[in-house]
Amino acid sequence: MTVTVMPDMATGTSRATLRRNFWRGVWRVLCRKPSRMAGVIIVLGFAVMGVIGPLVYPANLPRDDNALYASPSLQHPFGTDFEGTDVLALVVTGARYVLLTGLATALITVALGTLIGLFAGFRRGGWDSALMRLTDLNLAIPGLPLLLVLSTVWKFTSPLEMGLVLGLLGWGGVARAVRSQTLSLRERGFIEAARGLGLPTRHIIGRELLPSMAPYIAMNMLIAVTGAVYAQVGLFFLGVLPFDANNWGVMLNLAVFSGGALTTPSALPYLLAPLLAILLLTLGIVLIVDAMDEIFNPRLREE
């Protein structure tokens, strides 16, 4: 008896199975530690906040002229700001700019860093030298002073503009790490085999090398989000970026310098609310990175 196997169907089925198994694995890893699930919930919560937060509140947030720097209450869980605006509403509506900047920064950082690192590591020789000198140059750029100077001529009104600059300044580390990984992987047997089979470079890089580095790249991407959040909030805190009352950095600035939050407790909730948001977002990302580490690294799996 002969069995005829339809090659395409077999491939399709095996891919679907792989995908199904992968997500089952992800679910298992997430369920193993409640903290990981908490991380996913936190990040999803921020994503929802960023997408629908500004739609929940009116464009001009209501103010209470008789409740400037009001203490936390049921009506205002984090009190009010200098104008009597609910601080929670400011944090929620301000999340979009912060998250979009973080996302744009992470995408640019990872895309540029991976592309340059992969190409330099795989091609070696002159290309490697040239691209690594470019990477050295990028790593040598003092990011904060440059941003301070740039802010005098560029207003960064859009989160994408901010993300673009932060991303262009931050890809060096990823490029260098990806290059090291590529140099190590390209000597492995499966790459040698792929070369021996005469597979095109695009296939070797895209289908053989990249999937092996995907976990590392994905983790870098998440960590880049936190870096971008710190950088932009820091710049807004320093007051060098345009004023937007619901920007978390602006809130920190006004709480400290205008409200005296570090001197008296009245403006403390106004200071703590954006700080708590930044802390939670970072925590959520770190917990997801922990889960990803186990998902992509079979040796860490605890069966």
Binding site: N60, R63, D65, L68, Y69, F82, E83, L148, S151, T152, K155, G239, V240, L241, P242, F243, A245, N253, L254, V256, F257, S258, G259, G260, L262, T263, T264, P265, S266, A267
Partner: protein, 600 residues
């Protein structure tokens, strides 16, 4: 172990010295008076030189002027004696005679003489300034300086007279000729004469030669402090400057403290912390939020003194840009801004809401204008009037939002420097109020004040915050509205109006306006304030206040209140509220016999 203990002890001494204090001091019965210098931060590497903007010379302590200005709301020529014991000026203000303190001595024991004043004036010429302008046609420029005797000096004013001549003259900083004299070349006075009275290339060469000395004067670093003030600099580090008593000060018996420690600060927050810790015997004007003020007040001995401060904050328009060229638009905005609310949010303790826009601080305006002040439009919050004004300007309402006459969206951008937190709060409050009334308004910040001023002068902003009412001289007050920023400039002694967007004319107002049926040139009137007799000055101030009120080149938001802090647990005798010396340093208060050690 002993060595370790010795190193630890040494390290603790070094740390204590480096961290915001000059360390343990042995002061006599007068004690150490601790304060800050409100005009500058401490720079330990700066020279002990008053011509250097960051120099370690502090007004009233080791820095002395001929006299100290009183905080008079309208008269700029009211002064307390300092190095000058008395002075006289001719009725036409053409000649001033200054008599020095007969017992004044420098901290090295040498007498303070007319020659010191002459050298100080020579050095002031290198820096430029109103009384010491090289252009002989400049209003209020000194023409001749004549030493009459060792304690008398006569100074004449040039042909273009100014009412502020005496005031500028008495503000001259006095330095010792035996220390600074070598900075002036031997032929300096001849060169100065050629620069002032000569013509053509030689005069230009002489002017370049005099102004070319500016950098040398600023950089000059004497090896030690030689002061004619009540104190002399003992040492300075990045955290503080310590000054000890000058035994040769002419009124030494009036000085209470033995030493003065001026603490450095990086911002208001640090001053608040000093005050909460009860460290400061006095802190000059410092912006404070209400909650912080309450906390400062609760500290034992801390008290708040308040008084007149001839400064106001305003929202200024670039009238070269649409729709702000239309007076109806400016009036509409004035009717939509609740100034009391803005002040409550931005400067609850350091300001009072402006009663109206007159160009002058309300307290000075009441004296200048009398009953006329009540007749000015107060521009109280009135959305109906605002809507009528906007319609009169041709603005249209689309849905709930106002649009430009051609239908394009109207976006009001209010510019403020990022470092001024009270202005940011005020701008945000204004945008919120305008948004409530259908005007799309946002706040835009500039990274720092220098950048803000340069972009403002370049005409890049439509609407921005602007300090005004800088009295007491009426000329200085209206210069802020009808001076260089609005196109009026002196060229070779002649007043000209330059086109908007050029030569720093960012306000872009018209050269003439019609007020109550009369055509007036506000810039020319302002210029006349420089030399007009008092009766005419009053008349001009009345006209300019009316012009400002009707034309609204700015919307006056709040008038500042000088809010100072003192601690009476170590010293007493501080000036009371509204005292004429309130805006002067503690050093000057001591010279006036005010500060005394509290007796146990």
């Amino acid at each position: 172990m002993k060595r370790l203990a010795a190193i630890a002890a040494l390290a603790s001494i070094v740390t204590a010295t480096a961290c915001g204090s000059t360390g343990q001091e042995n002061a006599g019965q007068g004690g150490i008076y601790t304060t800050i210098d409100g005009s500058k931060q401490i720079n330990a590497s700066a020279p002990i030189n008053p011509f250097n903007p960051v120099g370690s010379v502090f007004d009233g302590y080791n820095g002395m002027a001929l006299a100290w200005p009183k905080n008079d709301p309208i008269d700029p020529n009211q002064f307390y004696p300092a190095i000058a014991r008395s002075w006289t000026i001719t009725p036409d203000q053409s000649e001033a005679v200054i008599h020095l303190q007969p017992n004044a001595r420098w901290s090295d024991g040498k007498p303070v003489t007319s020659e010191d004043v002459r050298v100080s004036i020579g050095l002031a010429y290198t820096q430029g300034g109103t009384a010491y302008a090289l252009d002989p046609k400049a209003a209020g420029a000194a023409a001749t300086i004549q030493v009459v005797d060792p304690t008398t000096i006569r100074i004449t004013q040039g042909a273009n007279k100014s009412n502020t001549f005496l005031s500028n003259l008495l503000s001259t900083v006095v330095v010792p000729a035996h220390v600074y004299g070598s900075l002036l070349p031997r032929d300096f006075w001849h060169t100065l004469k050629v620069a002032q009275d000569g013509k053509g290339a030689p005069a230009e060469r002489a002017k370049t030669e005099v102004t070319g000395l500016a950098d040398k004067v600023i950089a000059f670093a004497p090896s030690h402090d030689v002061s004619a003030g009540p104190f002399v600099l003992e040492r300075v580090n990045p955290g503080a400057a310590l000054l000890r008593r000058n035994p040769y000060f002419y009124d030494n018996k009036l000085i209470g403290p033995d030493k003065v420690e001026l603490l450095n600060y990086s911002g208001n927050q640090q001053i608040w912390n000093y005050l909460i810790a009860g460290k400061l015997d006095n802190a000059p004007f410092t912006s404070v939020p209400s909650a912080v003020l309450d906390r400062i007040r609760s500290v034992r001995g801390n008290k708040v003194i308040k008084g007149f401060s001839p400064v106001s904050t305003s929202l200024a328009f670039n009238q070269a840009r649409k729709p702000y060229d239309n007076v109806h638009v400016r009036r509409a905005l004035a009717y939509l801004i609740d100034r009391a609310q803005v002040t409550k949010i931005a400067s609850p303790e350091g300001g009072t809401p402006s009663l109206t826009t007159s160009g002058i601080h309300a307290e000075a305006a009441k004296v200048w204008l009398g009953s006329q002040f009540e007749g000015l439009d107060p521009y109280r919050l009135d959305p109906a009037k605002a809507a009528a004004e906007l319609k009169a300007a041709g603005m249209t309402k689309r849905g709930n939002t106002w649009a430009l006459p051609d239908g394009r969206p109207w976006k009001v951008e209010i510019h403020v420097p990022a470092s001024f937190s009270d202005w940011i709060s005020a701008a945000k409050s204004i945008t919120s109020q305008l948004n409530d009334h259908g005007i799309d308004a946002t706040v835009v910040t500039a990274a720092d004040y220098t950048l803000y001023l340069s972009e403002l002068a370049a005409g890049k902003y439509d609407v921005g915050f602007w300090l005004m009412g800088l009295g007491p001289s009426p000329y200085n007050i209206f210069q802020r509205l009808y001076g260089q920023a609005n196109g009026w400039q002196m060229f070779g002694g002649r007043l000209e109006h330059v086109a908007p967007g050029t030569e720093g004319n960012w306000m872009g107002g018209p050269e003439t306006v019609t007020v109550s049926g009369t055509k007036v040139d506000p810039g020319a009137l302002t210029s006349r304030l420089n030399f007009a007799p008092p009766a005419e000055q009053k008349q001009i101030v009345g006209t300019l206040a009316k012009v400002s009120n009707e034309q609204l080149p700015v919307i006056q938001l709040w008038d500042y209140v000088n809010t100072q802090f003192v601690n009476t647990s170590r010293y007493t005798g501080f000036p009371p509220d509204d005292n004429e010396a309130l805006r002067l340093s503690s050093g000057v208060w001591m010279q006036l016999g005010m500060i005394k050690k509290r007796q146990a």
